[in-house]
């Protein structure tokens, strides 16, 4: 017979911890000693005993929480893809994208990035990548507007989300455009459509993981 050290994820109920409640050794010990062990392993990422561990491996194949979203810890916010650019300054650097061919002009980028492993489920933090970026007007008058679409995951024939940018100077574009994200390689089309006669520069741009627990 193999003697198993206890590990548990189960809390005690209110009834089990009230005064005069019957003290059931297995329930109390399983929940209290077992959860203490599980939490220790999840926190430190190492087995509590020399037995290989008693908690499941996280999405990247290791013990412990890797902050990739519940139950593997709340996730941190960070960019997953970037188009760094500047309007002016050094020679020549990477310039913001010029969108100035008249209403209907379309510029496309192909964003390619690797997403860290995560437990796939609806609305988990790493399930979406949100677009962030800047728009600047070309010229000295009028309002520059664009619509920015992020397609995915089925190329530009599939669904997209969109947002708009509008400025009489320089401003952030909207925050509503996002694309589904999967563990591993992701490739998406970002489409910028000019919707005003006034042209604009678009950039910098980025796609980001923006949620701690869920979207």
């Amino acid at each position: 017979m193999t003697i198993q050290r206890i590990v548990s994820t189960e809390p005690l109920t209110d009834a089990e911890v009230r005064s005069m409640a019957p003290a059931r050794a297995r329930r109390l010990a399983t929940s209290i000693a077992g959860r203490a062990r599980a939490l220790y392993e999840l926190t430190l990422g190492t087995p509590a005993y020399d037995d290989g561990g008693a908690t499941p491996l996280n999405p990247q194949g290791s013990l412990g929480i890797d902050r990739s979203g519940p139950p593997w810890g709340d996730a941190h916010l960070h960019p997953v893809w970037s188009y760094a650019a500047t309007l002016q300054g050094v020679y020549p650097g990477i310039r913001a994208i010029e969108v100035d061919g008249g209403i209907g002009t379309i510029i496309r980028l192909r964003a390619r990035w690797w997403c860290r492993p995560f437990q796939m489920a609806p609305s988990v933090p790493y399930s979406r990548a949100y677009l962030r970026g800047m728009i600047s007007r070309i010229g000295a008058s009028g309002t520059a507007t664009v619509t920015v679409r992020v397609y995915g995951p089925s190329g530009d024939r599939g669904p997209s989300t969109s947002t708009t940018g509008s400025t009489t100077g320089s401003d952030a574009i909207g925050t509503d455009a996002w694309t589904p994200m999967s563990p591993g390689w992701n490739e998406r089309i970002i489409e910028i459509e000019q919707t005003s006669t006034v042209g604009s520069y678009i950039g910098p741009l980025s796609l980001n993981q923006i949620a701690r627990r869920s979207h």
Binding site: V17, R18, A33, R35, Y91, P92, R110, P117
Partner: protein, 448 residues
């Protein structure tokens, strides 16, 4: 009263927790101590150093992505009186910062299509903090040799390497032959990425996923405002030999475990319908004053490399260039004290402490005419949250390469930040650039 806390994890003897076993003071006390130990490790409370996710018992490594940048610039050499022959240029030369505990193999991809076959093969190398080669140069493996076929063979798209990187700051370089007025329509540097090699992701050890529960009955909720040091700690006097099995102790210990469960996993308590820490606590670890900041890479940005492997500069002039790699080189055109934008990067930053910002930006540059030319240039980073102090570049080893690391970059937590990397000359000098530099790339990262 002495707060019970295990020095290291104790656990419970296996036979103490079977049905009908006596409820020993020893396992109850040890469970209290183990819970306190875990609580301190994860929060940094009670003068404990919080886990930093560096592995080896300090929390599982985060293994965040390091870079995924879209560039899309032509890499065509303009020839003339000065630039007289095709040669290998670094199309990518960037600083890379690796978090503590995350040294090892990384997957590098570079998409720079060409129809020139092996004459334009990409080669990667890694240089250490003294600019000595620690990996390569090795040619990459092409993901896709199919597709369009030209007279020189198929178009080669994306090259991949497994490069070995150490902790801290080092330098990643990729070279390719560049040609005069290249007629190859694919002569572009399109994008690149750097990420961990994921050899073991997705493995399982047979233990079922946490979160399931067979609990029947109401579960005491986790605390929405959590101050365990006053609310939940258990003391020696409360767990004594032959003492009563106190409902008071059990309730508090159960509740501490409940709350700790939500804090560690970010998930609601099994058997409980709602995640409790959604308002005042919000599972935002900045609520804990001693919560440990983490090593945390944000992005690496190539800005314009194009020094030749032989050391030749990317262009022939730094005031009005007409020869060289005119589309993929980055330098100040005037030598003034006015700050000029090198690049802007927009990114959503994590909820790390902003009061003592651990955000850094390291800028890699090259001085084609000798190391002394870097001395008077200053780099800084500004954002809507403020401007970091400008810093001078530091020579890397004895090379003509330099690194300028801007520290305490102001940022807004849990929000979108546009970080502007800027350069100025500390003396000025009128306009024409006499102290020439090429700016190659920069890395953004949190290093507490």
């Amino acid at each position: 009263m002495a707060r019970i806390k295990s020095t290291s994890f104790v656990g419970s003897p296996p036979r103490d927790v079977v049905a009908d076993a006596s409820i020993f003071r020893r396992w109850l006390r040890d469970a209290v101590g183990d819970t306190a130990l875990t609580y301190d490790k994860v929060t940094g409370e009670n003068t404990t150093t919080a886990i930093r996710h560096t592995g080896a018992g300090d929390g599982c490594q985060l293994r965040l992505p390091l870079a995924a940048q879209h560039i899309d610039v032509p890499i065509i050499l303009e020839g003339g009186a000065v630039v007289v022959g095709e040669e290998d240029f670094y199309v990518l030369a960037v600083p890379v910062w690796i978090a503590e505990g995350e040294a090892g193999p990384y997957r590098l991809t570079v998409t720079a299509p060409t129809s020139r076959g092996n004459t334009a093969t990409l080669k990667a190398e890694v240089r250490d903090s003294s600019w000595n080669v620690s990996y390569g140069p090795y040619p990459g493996t092409y993901e896709d040799d199919g597709g369009t076929v030209t007279v020189n063979g198929p178009v080669r798209e994306t090259a991949t390497w497994l490069v070995t990187l150490g902790e801290g700051l080092q330098y990643l370089c990729v070279s390719r032959t560049c040609y005069f007025a290249d007629a190859d329509p694919f002569a572009h540097l399109v994008c690149w990425s750097l990420d961990h090699d994921r050899s073991f992701s997705g493995e399982r050890n047979g233990v079922p996923q946490a979160g399931g529960s067979s609990v029947v009955g109401d579960v005491y909720p986790a605390s929405s405002t959590f101050t365990p040091s006053t609310d939940h700690d258990t003391y020696d006097e409360e767990v004594t030999v032959d003492g009563p099995l106190s409902s008071y102790v059990l309730t508090r210990l159960n509740r501490q475990l409940n709350t700790l469960w939500e804090y560690v996993t970010g998930a609601k308590l099994p058997g409980n319908n709602a995640y409790q820490c959604a308002t005042t606590w919000d599972n935002n670890r900045s609520s804990f004053a001693n919560d440990g900041l983490l090593d945390f890479p944000m992005a690496v940005v190539a800005l314009g490399s194009m020094i030749a492997v032989t050391g030749k500069p990317g262009v022939n002039s730094y005031t009005a260039p007409t020869e060289g790699l005119l589309d993929w080189v980055c330098f100040p055109q005037t030598q003034t004290t006015t700050n000029a934008n090198v690049t802007s990067a927009t990114m959503v930053c994590p909820s790390f402490a902003t009061g003592t910002s651990a955000l850094k930006c390291s800028v890699l540059l090259h001085t084609p005419n000798g190391a002394a030319d870097a001395a008077n240039w200053r780099f800084r980073v500004s954002s809507s949250a403020g401007t970091a102090t400008a810093v001078a570049p530091v020579q890397i080893g004895t090379s003509n390469m330099h690194i300028a690391t801007v520290t305490a970059v102001p940022f807004t937590a849990s929000s979108t930040n546009t970080l502007n990397v800027q350069v100025a000359h500390s003396v000025g000098g009128g306009g024409a650039v006499t102290e020439e530099i090429e700016i190659l790339g920069c890395a953004f990262y949190f290093e507490p």
